[in-house]
Amino acid sequence: MKQSLGRLLLLFLLILGTADAAQYKWSVLKAPKELHVGEGAVVRYQCLFDGSAGDYTVVFKPTDSKSYKASMVTQDDRVINGKRILQFDVLITPVIGGVLDVKLDALVRRTTFGSIENASIGRDNVKKYDFKDEKVMMPDVKIQAIDNTADLSGEITFAVLVDKVKVRSHEPVHLSLYVRGRGNLNEFVPFELNISGVKHFSEPAHRDLSLGENGYEGEIRQEFALVSEKSYVIPPFSVSVFDTKTHTNKILRSQPINIDVEKGFEPGNLLDAPQLNGYSDWKRYGFYAFFMLLGVILAEVARWLWVHRPRRKPKAFWDSAATAKELSILLSLRGESQYLQIIQLLDEGNISLNEAKNKLRLMTSTDEEKR
C-alpha cells in the first residue's frame, strides 16, 4: 500500500510538472524533388503548436553541408485560432550531384515560470537562466541533385557596354559589365581584364542582390576605365549558365569591341595655345631661391616690427594720486622703505605732487635698469 502510494505521488508530480507544457509538431509543407547543381529552391518547414505557446522561442539557423548550401529566406510566426504556427522558408542549393539528404535542426526553448519571475522581480544574481531547451530534428527531405558544370544557374542575362569607341590618346574609355537576373548570382566570380598596352583602372564589383525564393536576385556590375595611346580591342567576355527555365546549358558571350585611339592634343592644334615660357633649369631654381629668400626677409621684418611695436607702459600704482596727500597715503600703504623719504618730503610739504612723481619715475626706471 505504501509503495503504491509513493508511485502514485511520483506520477502525480510528473504529470503536474508537464501539465502546462505545450505540444508541437514539425512538418515539411513544400520541397522540390529534383534540382540541378547550383539551382536553388525553397523547402518550407512548419512548426505547429497545440496552443498559443507564448513562452516558447524557436531558434532555427540552417547550416550548410558538404552537398548543399542552406539559407533562411523568410520566417513567419502567427497564431491562428489560438494555435501558434511558425513557418520557415529555407533555400537549398545543391553543390554536388546525387541524392541530397537535407537534415536540419532547430532549438525549441521554453521560458519557465522561474525565469519569468526572475525577470519581473529583477534578480541579478541568477547564474543560469531557467530555460528548458530541446533540440529538434526537422523531418528529412530528400532531393535528387543532377550534375551541372555551368558557372552560374538561373535566369541570367549578361551585357557589356562602353561609353565611346573613338577616343584621343590618354582619354579614358568606360567599360561596364552587367550580370542580371536570378539564380546563384552569389557564386559569380568577377571578370579579370588584361589588354596589352592598355592601362586599366577598376573597383570591386558592385553586388546589388537580395535573397528570394529562386535564389539571389538583382544585378552585379563591374566598371573599368581603360586608357591607352594606341588603338586596342576589348576581348569578348563569356560566362556559362544553366538556364533553369528551359533546363539547358548556354554560354553568354559578348562581342569584341574595337576602340580607336587617335593622337592626343598638342599645343600646335589648339586654337588658344598657352604661351609656355622657356625657362631653363637654373633660371627656374634661381626664381625659387629668390622667392624663398624674399619670404625669409619679410618674415624677419615682420618679427622685428612686432618686437619693436610701440607699447604703452603699464601705469604705476601711484599714477592715480591727484594730490600730494593721496600720493603719500598710496606710498605708505605700500609699506616699502624705499618710499619713506618721499613720504616724509610730501608730509612736510617740501615737494610738490609732480616732483614726487618724477622722483618715483626715476626710481622705477633705475630699478628696471638694475634688473
Binding site: 596727500k325 593721496e326 603719500s328 597715503i329 598710496l330 606710498l331 605708505s332 600703504l333 622703505s337 608730509d347
Partner: protein, 315 residues
C-alpha cells in the same frame, strides 16, 4: 631717543638682514606694549628676529615651541605637590617673563591658545585660586606658518583680536638674500649685546605717549575703523558684502597707540595720515572677518583695507 631706536636697529641688523617692516612692527609692539603675531613661510628669520630683539633689549626672554600635545599648564604653570613640606606649591610656567616667543602658535589646540587670553589682556595669570601679575614690559610675540593645513589650529577671533599687529613677512630682496647667504656661509654673524634695559624701555614708552595727534587725524582714524563696519558711508557699497564683521573698538585703541609709535620711529613729534596708512594693514588684517562671498571670490583682506583707506577723505 631716536638714537636708542637706531642703536637697537643696528644691533638687530647684526644677525638679521633686511626685514625692516618686521623689525619696525616688533619695536612698535615694544613701545606700545602690544602683542605681535608674525606670519610668514618658514625660513624668513621670524624666530631669529624675535630672539635678536630680546637679546638687544636685555629683557627676560622665554621661548615656547607650540606643539599639538602642549597643555595650558606647560605655559602658565601649575600647582605641584611638595612631599618634603607636605604642601602644594605653585610652579610658574614660561609665561612669567618679559618677552614670550610663542613659536608656531597655530600648532597647539585652541585650549592652549586660549590659555594666553588672560595673560595677554589683563597681564596676569590665575593659577589655582591665586592671581599673579606679570612683569612689565610683557610682550607675546607669536609666529605662525600660513601654508600648512594639516595639523594646525587656526587662532580664534577673540585670540586674534588681542594681537595689536599681525605682520606678514615677505621674501628678502635679491641683494639682501645674497648678503644672508654670504654671511651664513662664512659664519660671520656678530654677537648681539644688550644695549637697553627695562628702565630705558619704560622711558621710550613714556616718550611715545607724548607724540601729538591732531583732532582731525584722530577723527580720520575713527572714520577708517568705522568704514570697515559701514563701508557704504564712504561710497564703498561694492565691498560691503565681503565684510562679515568690521574692526572692533580695540582696533581704534591700538591704532591710537601704534600710530604714535610709528611717528616716533620716524623721528616725528606728531602723527600724519601717512603714518596711519603705513601701519593700518598690520592693525586690521586679522580683525576684519570676511564673508564667505569674499572667500569664494578670492578677495584679499589687504585689498579691502587699501580700498577703504583710499576712499576715506584724508584730513
Amino acid at each position: 631717543m631716536i638714537k636708542i631706536i637706531d642703536a637697537i636697529r643696528t644691533e638687530i641688523a647684526k644677525v638679521v638682514v633686511g626685514q625692516e617692516k618686521m623689525i619696525d612692527g616688533l619695536l612698535i609692539g615694544l613701545l606700545c606694549e602690544g602683542h605681535i603675531l608674525i606670519e610668514g613661510i618658514p625660513g624668513l628669520a621670524k624666530t631669529t628676529t624675535v630672539k635678536a630683539l630680546a637679546q638687544t633689549l636685555g629683557l627676560d626672554f622665554k621661548r615656547v615651541q607650540f606643539t599639538p600635545d602642549l597643555l595650558p599648564s606647560d605655559i602658565l604653570g601649575a600647582e605641584v605637590y611638595d612631599p618634603q613640606n607636605n604642601l602644594f606649591k605653585i610652579k610658574k610656567g614660561p609665561i612669567f617673563t618679559n618677552l614670550l616667543l610663542a613659536d608656531e602658535i597655530n600648532r597647539a589646540p585652541a585650549k592652549v591658545q586660549s590659555a594666553l587670553l588672560e595673560a595677554m589682556q589683563e597681564r596676569q595669570v590665575t593659577l589655582s585660586d591665586e592671581s599673579f601679575g606679570l612683569s612689565s614690559p610683557f610682550l607675546v610675540m607669536a609666529t605662525q606658518n600660513p601654508i600648512e593645513n594639516e595639523g594646525v589650529y587656526p587662532l580664534p577671533e577673540a585670540q586674534l583680536d588681542r594681537f595689536m599687529l599681525k605682520i606678514k613677512v615677505g621674501y628678502n630682496t635679491p641683494d639682501e638674500e645674497l648678503l644672508i647667504a654670504r654671511r651664513i656661509a662664512s659664519k660671520s654673524s656678530e654677537a648681539i649685546h644688550a644695549i637697553v634695559n627695562a628702565q630705558v624701555i619704560g622711558e621710550l614708552q613714556e616718550a611715545v605717549k607724548t607724540v601729538h595727534i591732531d583732532e582731525e587725524v584722530e577723527r580720520y582714524m575713527i572714520a577708517l575703523v568705522g568704514a570697515t563696519r559701514e563701508p557704504e558711508r564712504f561710497g564703498l557699497e561694492s565691498i560691503k558684502r565681503y565684510i562679515q564683521f568690521g574692526a572692533s573698538p580695540r582696533v581704534s585703541i591700538d591704532m591710537f597707540k601704534a600710530v604714535r609709535a610709528m611717528a616716533f620711529l620716524r623721528g616725528k613729534e606728531f602723527v600724519t595720515p601717512s603714518d596711519i596708512a603705513s601701519i593700518i594693514k598690520d592693525l586690521m588684517r586679522h580683525r576684519i572677518v570676511l564673508s564667505y562671498e569674499a572667500e569664494a571670490e578670492g578677495i584679499d583682506v589687504d585689498t579691502l583695507i587699501e580700498q577703504i583707506v583710499t576712499a576715506v577723505p584724508v584730513p
